[in-house]
Symmetry: C2
Subunit: 368 residues, 2 copies
Amino acid sequence: MSIDVSDIPALARGCAVLGTGGGGDVRTGSLAAARAIREYGEVPLVRLADLADDALIMPLSGIGAPTVSHEMIHSEDEPKRIAEEVERLFGRPPSAVMSSEIGGSNGVAPVAWAAQLGLPLLDADGMGRAFPEVQMVSMYVAGLPADLVIMTDVAGNVVTIRPVDGLWSERLARAVCVAAGSSALMADYVLPAARARGAVIEGTVTRALEIGRATEGASPTGAQAAGRSPADPLGALRDRLGAARLITGKLTDVERRTMGGFVRGTATIEGTGHDRGRTLTLELQNENLVAVENGRVLAMVPDLITVVDTETAGAIQTEGLRYGQRVTVLAWPCDPLWRTSKGLETAGPRAFGYELDYVPVEELTAHG
Amino acid sequence: MSIDVSDIPALARGCAVLGTGGGGDVRTGSLAAARAIREYGEVPLVRLADLADDALIMPLSGIGAPTVSHEMIHSEDEPKRIAEEVERLFGRPPSAVMSSEIGGSNGVAPVAWAAQLGLPLLDADGMGRAFPEVQMVSMYVAGLPADLVIMTDVAGNVVTIRPVDGLWSERLARAVCVAAGSSALMADYVLPAARARGAVIEGTVTRALEIGRATEGASPTGAQAAGRSPADPLGALRDRLGAARLITGKLTDVERRTMGGFVRGTATIEGTGHDRGRTLTLELQNENLVAVENGRVLAMVPDLITVVDTETAGAIQTEGLRYGQRVTVLAWPCDPLWRTSKGLETAGPRAFGYELDYVPVEELTAHG
């Protein structure tokens, strides 16, 4: 199959849901994707199994400071410079583009990069959601050496990092990004298809498209419904995600501090209807990381927690949370990779400073 | 000729003189050089004319934050990792090591790096003195594209920068250095011998050795004379440098502020003997940049200004200036490359924030 201009709104909505509040504004990536498809044609979506063992996969993401996701539109030269550097270093050009992070803007923008390079997009990503740091990718958790990061910026600089490990790759890539004006395009874990098997999260572009189609008519930022929509978009979305509904209610308090672009805070939702009398608090660090009711944790990272507009089922990103919004909080299981001990060490609650032992969302909500 | 352990003290003294107050403590580089020669044997010193046109020259320097020079001892693995990256990128190994900066520690330490790599040292450098920033090198002034910087740190990370220009190379290299713990080994302007002709400052290792031999017996930091020394080390040094004597006197005031490792300040010298009644003020920014007497400038960057111990003629670095020291301030012409318009734009007085039009030291001191 291919991704055409008409698929972009659904893809964007799906990526916003998988962004769990973070991952950057999907609208910028959508504009770039639609424009690139109009200019270069639709983008073939390929499965990992379709690629020859030695076909090079080039995972791309926009990196901002201080978080991975960045919604700046990159110039066409940036993916070309990265592809040239890949060819120089590997002796052959990349065969496919992959999104490093399906959640948020970095899930949509790779469609533009693939179109500009005339390459297919791999139906996979490195997170299955959004995360703020470079080493929080499946390839790292799968134990692949973080041995190469290629970055370029709007000025035209190209920086190649051969880090000793994933934590150094984050540290050095972030420093380069800040020096480059806090926005860069990055390829990390460029790898042949044979090594990608089991180390990337497959099917996530298709999944984002399906999620987006389940909420047809919702604006990607959850503002208002527009055009035709399913009779019960929220129900359709829950079914598609296999998500638990943590609460339906009204946003009564949002506390947010932006420190150097990193958003920390809490959001409080007071139940309405069946949930009247209940209060849910979300702990935010760009993404929604922990959901608590009366001291009891209902869901925690790396499981996905997304706030959606109760009527349209459109995802609301952290920066879009406003007093009085009628919202529903959904939570559903992350990819099994994140539940391994290396996965939890990399992106479990303690990696974000919460003194919590990870318990899967389906256990926490079984008797809820 | 070759550089042996017995040459290191003279080389260190000469590099300290050429450091014009900055460039890092030569003692650390000296220890590393002596140790490496004992382990790997003496280091051949080759002239540019001795190298085949396509022989790769690898200019190396320790980079600290915020200045180029850094006196940390680098592990043996660091030059090896850089040489491996050069071979990977150019398809052939480097043929010679060059000091990027002959002034200070970076003038001596390349002897260690060359010994460890089993390579000769080129009798040349990129400054003819010490300067604080990455783009302040002769290759930049000569118009060579700053198209490649290779860095490595003690952790083992290797970062390759393909900057769009010299200013970006400084900005990105500095950011990587800070992220790497404020110390890294760097190769920039790796180039074949054919391109180096006219773009490096030749003969500077020999010059440093000769300067050092003229002050035999002086400690490299000018503390005390030891062993045999010439009858008139100061006169021997002046003759060797072709230097003007700006003043001989006593250090009466030193004002220094260290901001993030960058030293700024002034030093005041009151004349004694023939110079009784005169007062000279030095403007410092790691290096000695401007010498002023009664509002009249006697010497300015990029010409070289060095404070030496009046008795031993050993150079005193900026950090070593102390009230009461008996000193002589010498100034002499920089390499002609720095007097071109690109040279002055890169490292003239205005590049350091002084609203001065450059006038050569020999004109300023002709009637002094």
